[in-house]
């Protein structure tokens, strides 16, 4: 049996791969409570990585898609609406499978993209890993969901704000940067917080679907499932992973709450928008 310190050293970074800690995962009767606690905690590295990057990249894309859907030009608004419909109307779980099986079909040596003066070689083999391919699917998914939220916010921007911007002689990009974008963000922020929470929770699906966990380095729920398979006892690993996710959720709520305060700082206290925690995890 390992002591707690030993299993901390062996497993706290194990999710990064075989070279970081013990080569093999604990098996069968050798599993201690500390093993479960630390190995599942190390899996959180990937949850944070996937969720953090997907939200950061998806945010920019979502603003673009939302503005696109709001556009008067049907050549722009139709494709944006179709993109949102496809990714919101189908299960994320199926999207993972679909994109993974599409990525494996790409040629392994990479695709050469001629740009005239240089030839870029797109690294396609990376797309079959969860860290790149899975992240890409998550980005597309969160882009669609957040774009719908931002689109709804764009529609509810007070008319007075827009008229005031016009009265100041603002137009085009200045009006967007100074008036439309901040108002949209402020209106959408409470639901965007929930979106960030759902996305963090759906990172648990990455390794459960098609993407393989190379060298047994997976995210927290992958390890929880591993332990339940090994010990046939669901009453330790699953509550542990649930507790970690509750902590992660509280962290996100805190972080986004600070931003919410910043966005609402100019408003009288009773008109400020509150963040209500309304979790609905599946997508």
């Amino acid at each position: 049996m390992r002591t707690c310190v030993e299993s901390f050293e062996a497993y706290i970074l194990r999710a990064l791969g075989r070279d970081h800690g013990a080569t093999l995962l604990p098996r069968g009767l050798d599993i201690t409570f500390c093993d479960q606690a630390f190995l599942i905690a190390s899996g959180l590295i990937w949850n944070v990585y996937l969720a953090g990057l997907a939200i950061a990249i998806g945010f920019g894309l979502a603003v673009a898609v939302a503005v696109g859907k709001f556009s008067d030009n049907p050549l722009i608004s139709r494709p944006a609406a179709a993109f949102i419909f496809v990714f919101r109307g189908s299960p994320l779980f199926i999207q993972f499978f679909f994109f993974y099986s599409a990525f494996v079909l790409l040629p392994r040596q990479g695709i050469e993209i001629p740009l005239g003066f240089v030839t870029l070689t797109a690294n396609t083999s990376a797309l079959t890993t969860a860290q790149v391919g899975g992240l890409l699917v998550l980005v597309l998914n969160t882009t669609a969901y957040s774009a719908e939220l931002f689109y709804g916010a764009l529609r509810t921007i007070p008319r007075g704000d827009l008229e005031a911007a016009d009265a100041y002689g603002m137009s085009g990009l200045t009006k967007f940067r100074r008036v439309i974008f901040p108002s949209m963000l402020r209106l959408a922020w409470p639901s965007y917080t929930n979106e960030a929470i759902f996305l963090t929770h759906s990172t648990t699906l990455v390794f459960l679907s098609a993407f393989p966990a190379r060298q047994q380095s997976g995210e927290a729920f992958y390890y929880a499932r591993y332990f339940v398979d090994q010990t046939f006892n669901p009453f330790v690993a699953y509550p542990l992973v649930a507790a970690y996710f509750v902590l992660l959720t509280l962290f996100i709520v805190g972080l986004f709450g600070l931003m919410n305060r910043h966005l609402n700082r100019h408003l009288p206290r009773e008109r400020r928008r509150r963040i209500r925690f309304r979790p609905q995890y599946i997508r």
Binding site: G28, L29, I31, F85, V86, G89, S90, P91, L92, F93, I94, Q95, F97, F98, S101, A102, V104, L105, H201, T204, L205, L208, F221, A224, R225, V228, Q230, T231, F232, N233, P234, F235, Y238, V241, A242, F245, V246, T249, P279, Q280, Y281, I282, R283
Partner: protein, 293 residues
Amino acid sequence: MFAFCTDPASLPQWQWFACYLTTATHFAFYRSFLMVMLLLAITAPVALAMGLVGALAVRSRIWPVSWLGKGYVNIVRGVPDIVFFMFVPIALGQGIEWVFHHIQCPDWDQPIRQGNDFIVCREAKVPPVGAPAWVRNVYAFAMAVVAFSLVFGAFAANTLHGAMQAVPRAQIETAEAYGMTRGQAFRRIIMPQMWVYALPGLSNIWQILIKATPLLFLLGLQDAVYWARELGGQKTSLYTYPHPDWRVWYFLVLLCFYLLLTWGSERVFGRINARLSRGQATAAGERMRRAAG
């Protein structure tokens, strides 16, 4: 299926596909779509009923009941649902076996948990030892239904509770003025009117429920995802119908199936919403009244 399917290797393109798409395994694939529909058809009413019970419990004036209701709603909603889908079937299965074990083998002297094994006596096994495959499948399916109903019941309870609160206070006061009891007012005033307030939330939950059905695969059932992986994988020339890796096409079919399902139900909910808004004291009801008058 067809008479010309005896030697697929020598068939022209379209006949080959006609034969390929009508093999026995493909019919299992098509049936798995029916399983998804069946799961939806069973889970939705059960979850709605659980939601109603949960919402009533939250409203209850007896504190242990309301405490229980609030606990149920908040615990299920506060924990990632995937954890619940994986946890409930195993935990419930072990729970059932544990109870049967204590009823049927009272003089068993060994502990049930021995190291990493969960050991109950032979009579307490559920489904029974040597049960046919379909019994095992039905049992696994029933477990899935329980897990789905528990999670979605909590979602529905929250929505229904909100809807009950949203019925205008004045209407309930009027009912009280007519001398109705709390129960009567609930049955005659709140119950018929709350649905219009609950519908947006319920339609949202329904969409989420649809999108959660592929998770059946994780419970080890042979659902559409399972068959798409089986059938789509590369088949060497040892098979009757050899083909390269076609998984991407099978998953495309699944994707379209779900898109169709969510799109269709969105339209149905739109219709129901219009129907329920008739004569209601809401903006939509007001607009309908103006249009009619």
